[in-house]
């Protein structure tokens, strides 16, 4: 399957298109942007990442959305479901490009994405792994009602485990 299109007050959550590659590549080329999400990577690896965001849906029935501003159509970031089979829990993650930060887009998008993940995937333990130094992302987790549960080693560094509230009325 491909990503279902979702709407929030100000955003469209949609699947990735090849036209998104330039913006995502620019984002990942910058050290400050990529510090908390696996580090900088060259264009061909960003292309791989974007392909993976799409392929996740096809292999698993859940995956990642691109966030698009309804007004103006800007591609402003992404959010979605991540399930590396060897990770302890399934994750909801998000990133907003710097020029679009500070508007509450991450929490707005992740709230709707989380509901859809529960709707499609049924009840599950859902967490967000957040670098302890990534204060903006931690605030998003708080806004979403997640609770700091633990700090673990992940991808060679510390990661806070933020546990999300369980779905209300999620189908089994």
């Amino acid at each position: 399957m491909s990503a279902p299109v979702l709407e929030t007050e100000r955003l469209l959550l949609r699947g990735f298109k090849r036209e998104d590659l330039a913006a995502l590549t620019a984002f990942y080329a910058n050290e400050d942007n990529a510090r908390y999400i696996g580090g900088t990577r060259p264009a061909y690896r960003v292309y791989g990442l974007m392909s993976a965001f799409v392929g996740h849906w096809e292999l698993y029935g859940l995956g990642w959305w691109a966030m698009e501003e309804k007004a103006g159509g800007n591609f402003v970031g992404y959010c979605g479901f991540n399930n590396p089979p060897d990770w302890p829990d399934r994750e909801i993650g998000w990133a907003v490009f710097p020029e679009f930060q500070g508007h509450g887009y991450a929490s707005e998008a992740a709230l709707t994405a989380r509901a859809e993940i529960y709707r499609l995937g049924g009840p599950m333990k859902l967490v967000s792994y957040i670098d302890p130094e990534n204060a903006p992302s931690r605030r998003v987790a708080e806004k979403l009602g997640a609770v700091l549960e633990d700090t673990i080693e992940l991808r060679g560094g510390p990661a806070q485990v933020w546990r999300h509230p369980e779905a209300e009325g999620a189908r089994a």
Binding site: G48, M50, S51, A52, V54, E58, P84
Partner: protein, 184 residues
């Protein structure tokens, strides 16, 4: 021409099946991605998140841009033994036929069989006019595969993004498609 990943094309050769990856291939994929002997010349081992992302990408690129990596499976058992396919990521000098097989599948001519089918597919179905393979200068096994497909070493030590490789040039479509047509 476009494909949806839901129907990544299936190509059958004498002994192999090239098809889209499925979740039940993941264990086999992880095993050869974690094998230093297999991955030494193709970017190194990939574990955990990195392997998962590569696996998802192999499927997702088909729906995003219409080509990508096939799972290479033994035709009789459908067992995954590696991957292979037409790729052309940003920063690449030219469209490439890539191939990687698990250690247990080496030495049987499988890579030549799979890459040959992928090359025909790229010329016949994707309309590619040229194809190369980027091969490490010390990767003699892979060079052998390229040579058996009729490719020749064109340029040594070319810098591609964050790695260096030799460019092996495959025979043009006219040469490849005139003999042994593969049915797609």
């Amino acid at each position: 021409m476009g494909f949806h990943s839901a129907n990544i094309p299936v190509i059958e050769t004498e002994r192999l099946r090239l098809r889209g990856f499925r979740m039940d291939d993941y264990a086999a994929f992880c095993a050869y991605k974690a094998d230093p002997e297999v991955t030494h010349f193709v970017g190194g081992t990939e574990l955990g998140m990195s392997a998962w992302r590569s696996f998802c990408a192999a499927v997702g690129s088909w729906s995003m841009i219409g080509h990508g990596v096939f799972c290479v499976a033994i035709r009789e058992t459908d067992e995954c033994i590696g991957h292979c396919g037409p790729i052309n990521p940003p920063g690449w000098p030219e469209p490439e036929i890539g191939y990687t097989l698990a250690r247990g599948a080496h030495g049987k001519g499988y890579a030549t069989e799979a890459a040959g089918a992928a090359l025909r597919f790229a010329y016949q179905k994707l309309g590619w006019r040229t194809a190369i393979s980027l091969i490490d200068e010390n990767n003699t096994a892979s060079q052998g595969v390229a040579r058996r497909l009729g490719a020749s070493l064109e340029k040594k030590q070319v810098e591609v993004c964050d790695f260096t490789a030799d460019i092996w040039r495959h025979l043009p479509p006219e040469e490849i498609l005139k003999s042994n047509p593969t049915k797609f």
